[in-house]
Symmetry: C2
Subunit: 356 residues, 2 copies
């Protein structure tokens, strides 16, 4: 069976403002190395000596990012199989439906590997080995999720509870759990059967269509209708706006995963994964604060991100994020890293749409 | 008697980096209003209906600031009496000697009003009234200092202890005290006879020459020699470098004021004075954080200084200075405001001479 990687890159990553903006979101920025998370995601899926042999990538994103996608693919000489452009955001059930229906039309027996483009994976070899080993699980008729071994009581992620074993490193899913509070997260960590939900899925295209037909038939029907009305321009499919805007906005977890009997969790993976979700998470990964080394005097536990031509000096401060990008400076307590959207809200209220 | 204001503007104000730099120091920057402290100082000395009638200003500075001085004087259509340029910094005794000797040569009976250009005075009328009232004290043969009524146990200023009264609002000086520690500063505040030393002096030119002759004859001789060798170019006197570099570097307080029997203190003045010495002091005076209003969310007691085209957002922080200027960003605890020189030292060590 052929495996079709579908890379989701339509998000806007507001928690990493001012570097991540709606014009150039997180996944397209060189945040933690000299290449973008999107380019790293694509590179991680290339054919290799380890036997992983995926189809060329299918990119699914928002229409406004077409130029960025083309430029970054061309920079690495990548020819995608297709670029599917949503005219508006309709959450992850719609994305999964587009991926499953599109792949099902070109290869009814194909597997879909659906994955975010804005995560970091420090050990791509371990990640690829997990993909290879999980193929048999998906082929056997499962929607495979990938679990990450938790190393702290993180309250910002969803968790997956493993059920009975169904193969090497594979379990049926006992339950999906939304972002827990701190005490619940501690209990998950102690339990040992919970892993973080990395948001990566592998499934037979037709199985996902069947599950959507069962659990969210309206979403599937609207997406099918939208794709029927879409006229491709070469590799680029601008999904029909009128039809797609009718799709109900719901996550794939709520729409399918929490109801299906065919969910599996593979792992937990030890591939040095990070969702790069907040500035402190960037700080944990970055090898440099930017092109100009900052001046740090009695500055403890600070995450600093600078840009060409800007010198940052920090004196007598601790637990801060200091990020400078394109005429904007963010100074924030690390403890407030989840609240950057409050800044975006303030900018919206002032009509400063060029600033976020 | 004619009074000659001599405005000192050769300092470099490193504690207000990155706005104040050696190229454009504090006194020439629009820090707390839409005009510079230097321009405000000059404007404060203009002829007025209150009867204050000073000679045009004599400016004394470092040679590198000639262009800034000319531009700022021209902006206000001010014609100075002279611009005296030191080739190198030799502390305030040298400045007082230059002022006294220069004025003594053009008007042996003249009074000198020697004053810094980097302080803020919120009530210029009260300041001018004090100058007018102090003229008689100086004419009677005193070196008059101006005391500021202390409103807190400041450890960053020198203090003047008043002795016996010698006229309305005028006392002989009992003693000068260097920057005290906190406990000593508290005792000065409780005592009631201490005032802050504003660094403003008024004296007969020839009296200062006599005092220098008595207490620091080498300084006076070196300065006289340097001025003898200086050839003016119009109003501009580039003081002879070889001779002036021989002048001993010592403050006027150490060289003369602590020894003379003719010191007087006038005041204390209530003219809303600030030395604008640190970023928190700027924060106490500023009416705006810059051309782009910052986004402040749970940001308490922060001093923010921005520039055209830069947006600062602060989230969940307190007691910080955030200052952005010309490719440099300072984030500092207010409690470390006296230590900005440590940043300059680090930049020097890296050879980043264009940054300070």
């Amino acid at each position: 069976m052929k495996i079709y990687p579908v890379i989701m890159c339509g998000g806007s990553g507001t928690r990493l403002w001012p570097v991540s903006t709606s014009r150039t979101p997180k996944q397209f920025v060189n945040l933690v190395s000299d290449t973008s998370l999107f380019r790293q995601t694509v590179a991680r899926l290339a054919p290799g000596e380890d036997g992983l042999d995926l189809a060329p990538p299918i990119v699914i994103s928002n229409a406004r990012y077409l130029d960025l996608i083309n430029a970054q693919l061309e920079a690495d000489s990548i020819s995608p199989l297709a670029i599917l452009l949503e005219p508006c955001a309709r959450n992850t059930a719609a994305v999964a439906a587009v991926a499953a229906d599109f792949v099902g039309r070109i290869d009814p027996k194909g597997l879909v590997l659906l994955l975010p483009s804005d995560h970091f994976i420090g050990d791509p070899g371990a990640f690829r080995k997990a993909i290879i080993d999980a193929i048999a699980v998906a082929e056997a008729g499962r929607i495979v999720t990938f679990g990450i071994s938790p190393d702290r009581p993180e309250t910002g992620f969803g968790y997956i509870k493993a059920g009975e074993p169904i193969g090497p490193s594979a379990h049926a899913v006992s339950s999906f759990r939304e972002k827990p509070n701190h005490v619940t997260a501690l209990s998950y960590l102690a339990d040992g059967n919970y892993s973080w939900n990395a948001g990566i899925f592998m499934f037979p295209a037709n199985l996902m269509c069947d599950e959507l037909e069962t659990h969210a038939p309206d979403v599937l029907a609207s997406v099918k209708s939208a794709l029927d009305k879409t006229k491709p321009d070469g590799l680029v499919h601008q999904i029909d706006e009128a039809a797609f805007s009718e799709v109900r906005s719901i996550s794939i977890d709520y729409a399918v995963m929490e109801h299906t009997k065919n969910a599996a969790v593979f792992g937990p993976l030890s591939c040095a994964w990070s969702d790069v979700g907040t500035w402190p998470a960037v700080g944990d990964l970055q090898t440099s604060s930017g092109p100009v080394q900052p001046v740090l005097i009695d500055a403890e536990n600070c995450t600093i991100h600078s840009e060409q031509g800007t010198l940052i000096a920090a004196l007598g401060v601790e637990h801060l994020v200091i990020a400078v990008h394109d005429g904007a400076v963010l100074v924030m307590s690390k403890s407030r890293a989840q609240d950057v959207s409050l800044v975006i809200d303030a900018l919206k209220a002032r009509g400063l749409t060029d600033k976020f």
